[in-house]
């Protein structure tokens, strides 16, 4: 059973969100352990760039593993404030530490985050 930290919020597209969720707050986004396990060894993360606008529920990048390519969705709406540049050289951090060193991008919210799932709800979604 994949790990689902209680203190985070989740999207149905298997992203996690850390931080306060109000307008103007900055959140950190990554993919869940469940998603990373399904992909296998991730070799390339193509996320949004600093300054990009992202919209909740829309594709903002892709993750490539040995076996597959998966779209990366933004779970929130706002402006990208930072990206995890370390992933360019150590994409495997997404597999090894999906909730820590494997974070992908940070967003300054332009609208409050909506429709996110609690850890329990996400856990049910993924069995």
């Amino acid at each position: 059973m994949a790990n689902v930290p209680d203190e985070l919020m989740y999207s149905a597209e298997h992203e996690w969100v850390a931080g306060d969720l109000g307008e103007g707050d900055e959140v950190t986004v990554g993919i869940t352990e469940h998603a990373a396990d399904a992909l296998g060894d991730i070799v390339y993360v193509e996320g949004p760039a600093v300054g990009d606008t992202v919209t909740a529920g829309e594709v903002c990048g892709e993750l490539e593993s040995t076996k597959a390519v998966s779209e990366l969705y933004s779970p929130v709406t706002g402006t990208v404030a930072a990206v995890n540049e370390a992933l360019a050289s150590t994409p495997e951090d997404v597999n090894g530490d999906p909730y820590g060193a494997g974070w992908i991008f940070k967003v300054e919210l332009t609208t409050p985050a909506q429709g996110l799932l609690s850890a329990d709800a996400y856990g049910e979604l993924t069995g």
């Binding site: 060894d41 070799v43 193509e46 490539e64 040995t66 076996k67």
Partner: protein, 372 residues
């Protein structure tokens, strides 16, 4: 329809494998890490469950003339306890399946078919056997196939035997032998594989499969790693080996894949009679290829994938990617593709449409990896 399971399914689950559907079978795609499993085979040894593949036995006084009619290679030329890579083609020369055939006795051959094609291969062989004194039997349900592949495989398989140690070490490539493994288990062992490394494929009874699997893990210890389908695919891709459904299909001849050598037309000194597809294949040989299978290597981060278009400078499709993945050994994206013969020279730069963006890759001769 529920997926089928090999006798080793419980072993895969116990090892924490991620199970996926493959040709209607529940198979392990990985146990831990695709890259770690791949690397284990290149540096030490990997353990593979191949029991989903089909085993068809051909036995009888007409076994040789029958196979020389039914398949494109000359099975009569295969020595006792030797194996041969061959193909079953349709009358129009299209490939129905690629196969490895093992000669177990003078009039007894075992054909290993891809899991996805076993039923079609069996039906074709039965149809082509009309008029020949042969018995064709589907042994797939009673036979399990386990592979040990990698530089440490010879040592591991030797130590799995009860008293036939020497037989394994001296086995030439594409030769086979019968051995007794620890636990008094009889195995037919061939020095064949699909990884580009030294390796062995062990045919054992289905009811002894779990015991052989665990024996391999116990004997191999840290030197052996269970490997799933993901590693199997990247290993064979690096080694330039075709996969039916990608490099090979019903719509292509062996020549398209650069494998015309599997067809034996015969010589003046050693003529060969008719075989299924002969006329069409002679015509294809004489006409020359309209496309060439090449290797691809990239310097970027994004990999070509099956079906991605090969495009010219103007973005027009001129070819198609048949396989592609990030290569664990080469550390860069690799692939195989069909391109026009004039674009097949190694060093040629081609464009690949990777999900809407053009990525450049360089044509390279196959195989992209050869064991050192």
């Amino acid at each position: 329809m529920t997926a089928r399971r090999t006798p080793l399914y419980d072993e895969h689950v116990a090892l924490g494998a991620t199970v996926v559907d493959f040709a209607g079978w529940d198979m392990p795609v990985r146990y831990t890490s695709d890259i770690a499993e791949h690397t284990a085979v290149r540096t030490s040894a990997g353990l593979f469950d191949l029991s989903h593949m089909g085993e068809i036995s051909v036995r009888g006084s007409d076994a040789v003339p029958f196979l020389e009619y039914a398949l494109v290679g000359r099975m009569g030329a295969v020595g006792l306890y030797r194996a041969k890579y061959t193909m079953l083609c349709a009358p129009d020369g299209g490939v129905i399946d690629d196969l490895v055939e093992y000669r177990r006795d003078w009039d007894h051959f075992v054909i290993v078919a891809n899991a996805s094609n076993k039923d079609v291969v069996l039906a074709e062989l039965q149809a082509r056997a009309q008029g020949f004194e042969v018995d064709i039997e589907d042994e797939s349900a009673t036979v399990a196939l386990i592979a040990v592949q990698g530089p440490a495989s010879e040592d591991i398989v030797t130590r799995m035997t009860a008293r036939d140690e020497d037989n394994i070490a001296v086995l030439p490539y594409y030769a086979a032998t019968s051995v007794v493994l620890a636990g008094d288990i009889h195995a037919f062992v061939a020095r064949t594989g699909y990884t580009g490394e030294d390796g062995f494929e062990l045919f054992v009874g289905a009811d002894e499969a779990a015991e052989v699997w665990r024996l391999a893990l116990a004997v191999g210890g840290d030197a052996i790693t269970p490997c799933g389908l993901s590693a199997r695919d990247t290993l064979r891709l690096e080694a330039g080996m075709p996969l039916y459904g990608q490099e090979l299909s019903r719509d292509s001849t062996p020549f398209d894949a650069g494998l015309g050598r599997v067809i034996a037309f015969g010589t003046d000194a050693n003529p060969r009679g008719d075989f299924v597809g002969r006329g069409a294949l002679e015509a294809a040989r004489d006409a020359g290829p309209t496309r060439t299978l090449v290797g691809l290597v990239g310097d970027g981060r994004r990999s070509p994938r099956p079906g991605y278009p090969v495009v010219d400078e103007g973005g027009n499709q001129v070819g198609v990617v048949t396989s592609g993945a990030p290569s664990p050994t080469l550390g860069r994206p690799i692939g195989m593709a069909y391109v026009p013969p004039q674009a097949a020279e190694p060093g040629t730069v081609v464009g690949i449409d990777v999900r809407g963006r053009r990525e450049e890759m360089t044509v390279a001769a196959l195989p992209l990896y050869r064991r050192g």
